[in-house]
C-alpha cells in the first residue's frame, strides 16, 4: 500500500493539486474554493478535538502542494456528512463529497491512520450492510463498542442499555441476531451482483486514471 503512496508521490512530483484532481473523487472541485470560510463556520465537528484542518484550509494546503500535511490531517475523516457546507457553499463546491474523496484516496494509498474512528465506522457499516443487504444492528453495535477492548465495550453497552431496550420493544432490534446470521434482503444475489458490477466499474475508472 505504501508503495502506491510512493508511486503517486513520484508520479506527480510537486503537483499535489493535480494528484488530487486526477486521483481523488470530486478532487477537481478543489480549485473552485474562494476561501470565504463558510464551510468551516458551518461545520458542527469543529467543536471536537482532532479537527486540525477545516475544509477550506485543506483546499488551500492542496493548492499549496503541502502533500504531507494534507495526508497526515484528520479533518477529512471528521466529516459527519451533515451537508451544511455543501448547501451553503457560495461556489457550489460539494465540500462533503470532496472531503470523502480525499479521505478515500488517503486510505487507498495507505496513508489513512490505523483505527481512525469514523473510518472504522464506515468500514464496519459497509461490511455489515453488504453481507446480507440489510444492517444487522446487534452485530454492528457489537463491533463498534468492542473496538477498544472488552472492558470499554461492556461499559459502552451498559451506558446505552435503555436505548437498546427501547429498540427491542419497538421491534427494531432482535437480540437473537447476535448469534444467527441476521435478517436478509429479498434478493441477496441481486444486491451482490449489483455491488460486484459497481466495484468493477470503479476499478475500471481508477485504472483509466492510474
Amino acid at each position: 500500500m505504501s508503495d502506491l503512496n510512493q508511486q503517486m508521490a513520484e508520479r506527480y512530483k510537486n503537483n499535489f493539486l493535480k494528484e488530487i484532481e486526477e486521483q481523488a473523487e470530486m478532487g477537481e472541485w478543489v480549485k473552485m474554493c474562494m476561501q470565504c470560510g463558510l464551510c468551516s463556520g458551518s461545520c458542527p465537528t469543529n467543536f471536537h478535538s482532532g479537527w486540525d484542518h477545516p475544509p477550506q484550509e485543506i483546499f488551500m494546503l492542496i493548492r499549496a502542494g503541502k502533500r504531507e500535511e494534507v495526508l497526515n490531517a484528520q479533518g477529512m475523516y471528521m466529516c459527519t456528512s451533515c451537508y451544511n457546507c455543501y448547501v451553503r457553499c457560495p461556489r457550489k463546491v460539494p465540500v462533503t463529497h470532496v472531503m470523502h474523496g480525499i479521505a478515500e484516496y488517503a486510505y487507498r494509498i495507505g496513508r489513512a491512520p490505523k483505527n481512525q474512528p469514523t473510518m472504522h465506522l464506515s468500514r464496519t457499516f459497509w461490511n455489515n450492510a453488504t453481507k446480507y443487504g440489510r444492517v444487522n444492528e446487534v452485530k454492528l453495535t457489537q463491533s463498534l463498542y468492542f473496538k477498544d477492548g472488552l472492558g470499554a465495550g461492556i461499559k459502552k453497552a451498559m451506558e446505552m442499555q435503555t436505548v437498546a431496550l427501547g429498540l427491542v420493544k419497538a421491534g427494531r432490534l432482535n437480540p437473537l441476531e447476535a448469534i444467527g446470521g441476521g435478517h436478509k434482503c429479498k434478493d441477496l444475489k441481486g444486491i451482490h451482483a449489483m455491488l460486484a458490477k459497481a466495484n468493477e466499474l470503479e476499478a475500471q475508472r481508477k485504472a483509466a486514471k492510474g
Binding site: Q35, C36, G37, L38, S40, G41, N46, E57, V87, R88
Partner: protein
C-alpha cells in the same frame, strides 16, 4: 385622459431614477423630445433614499436638486409618474408603447400644504422608508419628492377618510374619481433604466433576516441614518429602540454566491465602508463597526477611501463569510463563523447586524415586454438584437451612482443616433 405628445422622433425613457433622469436630460438638452415614465409617484428612485454618497460623503439631495432644476427648466421632457410600460410593439425608429397610469387622486392644483394628510386617519406602510415606519394614507413620499404633490393611497378610496381628505383641500386638488388608464404613445428609441432592487434577504436562510428584528439590510440602514428617516437620523435598532453602538456589516450577502446572485454587486463594499462613517458620526469612539468580508473590493479610485476607514480604530475587519446568525436571550444578534486569518472560531455579539445585500435588476431581462438580450442575472446586455432599445444604469449591471450616470449618458447618445436617423428619413 392624459395626453402625451410623442412621435417617432421621441425618446422614451423607462424609469425615473438617477439613470433615467440623466438619460432624459442628456437627450432633451440636445434638443430631442423625451417622455420619462416612472412607476413611483416621484422621481429619483433609490438614489433619493440614500443618506449620503460615497466617496465624498455628500447628500444625494444635492445632486438630485441640480437634476430636478435642469428637468423643470426643460420643456422637452414630459414626465409620467405612477406609470408602467406594459407593452412594446414595432421596430427601431417606430415603436408603439402602451403605458398603464395608476391614479394619484391628486391633480396639479396641489400645493403640498399637507391639509389632506392631517385630515386622514388611516396609516399605511412607509414604502419610501422600506416599511420601517408608517405614513398617513394621504402623503408626500419624501421632502424631495418631484412632482411636489401629495398622493392618496388607493386603499382609502371609497371610505370616509378619502372624503375627509377631499374636504380638507382648499385648492380643489383632490379628485377621488381618478381612474386607471392605459395610453399608447410612439417612440423612435427606448432607454430602459428600471434600476435595481436589493436581493431578497429572507432567501439567505442562515442569516435569519425574516426571523431576527435586529438583522436589517444596507438600504434600511441608510434610512435609519437619514434625519428624514423613521428614527429622525438616530441609529436605533428595530427590536427595542435601543441605540445600536456595536454594529456588524456582513459583506457578500447574496452576491458572489451561486445559490443566490452569481455576480459581484460592486457597490456593497463601498456602501458598508461608507456606513461605518455614519456609526462614527453618531457615536464617536463609542460606536464600533465590524466588517465581515471575503475580500474588500473598493474598486479603482476608492482604495484611498478604504485605507482611511481601515485606519479608524473603531472599525474592525474580520476576513470571514459569516456562517450563521443566532440571537441571544437579550435579543442581540450573534455572528457565528470562522476567521480565516488564523482559523479562529468566533461567536460575536452585536447590537445590530446590517446585511450588505447585493443588487439584482428590478425588472429582469425576460420580463421586459420586448425582445431584449440579458445575461444569467437578468441584466440587459449591449446587443444589436436589442435594436432601438438601450439599457441604462443598474438595469444593465451592478453599478454605483457614478457609473450609473456614465452608463445613462452612453445610452442617451445611442438613442439620439436612432432618432436622428428617423429625423433625416422624415425630412
Amino acid at each position: 385622459m392624459t395626453s402625451v405628445v410623442a412621435t417617432n422622433q421621441t425618446i422614451l425613457v423607462v424609469g425615473g431614477g438617477i439613470s433615467g433622469m440623466t438619460a432624459a436630460l442628456e437627450a432633451a438638452e440636445t434638443g430631442k423630445q423625451v417622455v420619462l415614465v416612472e412607476k413611483n409617484p416621484y422621481l429619483g428612485g433609490r438614489t433619493v433614499q440614500l443618506y449620503r454618497y460615497f466617496p465624498k460623503m455628500c447628500h444625494p439631495t444635492c445632486g438630485l436638486e441640480i437634476n430636478l432644476r435642469r428637468l423643470k427648466a426643460n420643456p422637452r421632457i414630459q414626465v409620467l409618474t405612477l406609470a408602467e410600460v406594459t407593452g412594446i410593439t414595432g421596430a427601431k425608429g417606430a415603436y408603439s408603447v402602451s403605458v398603464k397610469l395608476k391614479p394619484r387622486y391628486v391633480n396639479a392644483n396641489c400645493t403640498a400644504c399637507g391639509e389632506c394628510g392631517k385630515a386622514v386617519t388611516t396609516e399605511i406602510d412607509d414604502a419610501f422608508n422600506y416599511n420601517l415606519g408608517k405614513v398617513k394614507a394621504a402623503y408626500l413620499p419624501s421632502s424631495m419628492a418631484y412632482p411636489q404633490r401629495y398622493v392618496i393611497d388607493p386603499s382609502i378610496i371609497g371610505t370616509p377618510d378619502a372624503e375627509r381628505a377631499k374636504a380638507a383641500c382648499k385648492y380643489d386638488a383632490v379628485n377621488l374619481d381618478d381612474q386607471e388608464e392605459t395610453i399608447s404613445l410612439n417612440a423612435g428609441a427606448i432607454v430602459w433604466a428600471t434600476g435595481w432592487q436589493p436581493y431578497d434577504a429572507a432567501k439567505i436562510v442562515y442569516y435569519g433576516y425574516d426571523r431576527f428584528p435586529n438583522v436589517i439590510s444596507n438600504v434600511e440602514f441608510e434610512r435609519l441614518a437619514d434625519p428624514h428617516g423613521p428614527t429622525g437620523g438616530k441609529i436605533l435598532r428595530p427590536s427595542d429602540g435601543k441605540e445600536a453602538r456595536n454594529i456588524a456589516f456582513i459583506q457578500c450577502a447574496g452576491s458572489r454566491d451561486e445559490n443566490h446572485l452569481r455576480h459581484c454587486s460592486r457597490f456593497c463594499c463601498m456602501g458598508s465602508l461608507k456606513q461605518t462613517h455614519y456609526v462614527q458620526e453618531a457615536y464617536g469612539d463609542e460606536g464600533k463597526s465590524t466588517i465581515y468580508y471575503i475580500d474588500i473590493r473598493a474598486i479603482d479610485r476608492f482604495e484611498d477611501f478604504y485605507q482611511k476607514v481601515k485606519a479608524n480604530p473603531n472599525v474592525t475587519f474580520v476576513k470571514s463569510k459569516v456562517a450563521r446568525i443566532t440571537e441571544d436571550k437579550a435579543g442581540n444578534p450573534v455572528c457565528n463563523g470562522v476567521n480565516t486569518e488564523g482559523y479562529i472560531r468566533y461567536a460575536n455579539t452585536h447590537d445590530l447586524v446590517v446585511l450588505a445585500l447585493g443588487m439584482e435588476p428590478s425588472v429582469k431581462g425576460v420580463n421586459i415586454p420586448a425582445e431584449v438580450m440579458s445575461d444569467s442575472s437578468g441584466f440587459i446586455m449591449a446587443d444589436p438584437a436589442n435594436a432601438g432599445i438601450f439599457g441604462a444604469g443598474c438595469a444593465t449591471n451592478a453599478l454605483d451612482v457614478n457609473r450609473a450616470v456614465q452608463s445613462a449618458t452612453a445610452a442617451a447618445l445611442r438613442a439620439i443616433q436612432v432618432v436622428n436617423k428617423v429625423a433625416r428619413a422624415e425630412a
